[in-house]
């Protein structure tokens, strides 16, 4: 679980509905595959994602093995004003990656 990437519009105005795009590198091991010796490779996926803006959760997702490797997630957001996003990805076992991004709000 590494290299989280977030794409926000360069500028946004209060009241705009913007698209937020996120991507993170992860194998999303399903728990269905077998290794060369025929042993099942244990499941290891990112099972949760959350997006906060100015400390408030605005969007979240529960993910299952049916989501592709290097999960891409995108959602929309109605800009209330200036603020900072905080994105969190949680892996099976509890490890987390947190990424913060300021939204450039212009008048």
């Amino acid at each position: 679980m590494q290299n989280p990437r977030v794409k926000l519009p360069e500028k946004a105005k209060a009241g705009d509905v913007i698209q937020v795009k996120t991507l993170i590198s992860h194998v999303m091991e399903t728990g269905q595959r077998k290794d060369a010796d025929g042993k099942t490779i244990p499941r290891k996926i990112i099972n949760a994602f959350s997006a906060k803006f100015a400390g408030q959760e605005v969007f979240s997702a529960e993910l299952f093995p049916g989501i592709s490797a290097n999960p891409y997630l995108s959602f929309y957001f109605k800009v209330p004003g200036p603020g900072e996003f905080e994105f969190t990805w949680v892996e099976d076992g509890g490890a987390q990656v947190v990424q913060k991004e300021k939204l450039n709000v212009v008048a």
Binding site: V58, F59, A69, P71, Y72, F75
Partner: protein
């Protein structure tokens, strides 16, 4: 030259057929057990029931946007969305995505708040084979929307 079956050969065939029928008859007592297993709900149907409870979903407003033919089942892009206001009083709480033929029916659950402005999300899913993708949207007033769309998969994902 055409070969003509001798009467004895015919008899042998008849015997074989009768034998097979007898064998099938012998299997009959186990058939009711088989029949009982048939109506059992598939995992994705169980999941749909679990999400809906007693609610009856309606069609419309909820859409799944994805290719009709997915060439690579390892990564199939999709967009789900509900054409519904996103106000504090009336908003889409969640969209559940379900696969009818993957080893596990759950794909993702997206949870929205009125702050999102639009109930729409995008990601990429794995599809093991040609199947249906089902979406269920849960509205703040307790109503449910459901849509189902078939996707043909050329090369399946989740492979070993």
């Amino acid at each position: 030259m055409t070969q003509i079956d001798s009467p004895s050969a015919l008899n042998r065939r008849q015997f074989a057929v009768t034998g097979a029928a007898a064998a099938a008859l012998a299997l009959l007592p186990s058939l009711p057990a088989l029949a009982q297993q048939q109506p059992e709900a598939k995992p994705w149907e169980e999941l749909v029931k679990k999400i809906l409870g007693d609610a009856k979903p309606v069609e419309g407003k909820l859409t799944i946007d994805m290719a009709e033919i997915a060439e690579n089942g390892n990564t199939v892009p999709f967009t789900v969305g509900v054409d519904n206001p996103m106000t504090d009083k009336d908003y889409v709480k969640a969209i559940h995505l379900i696969s009818s033929a993957n080893p596990r029916p759950e794909v993702a659950v997206f949870r929205f708040t009125p702050a999102t402005g639009v109930a729409k999300a995008e990601s990429r899913m794995r599809l093991v084979s040609t199947q249906d993708v089902i979406a269920i949207a849960e509205l703040s007033d307790g109503k449910f929307l459901m849509v189902r769309r078939p996707v043909k998969v050329t090369v399946g994902g989740c492979g070993g």
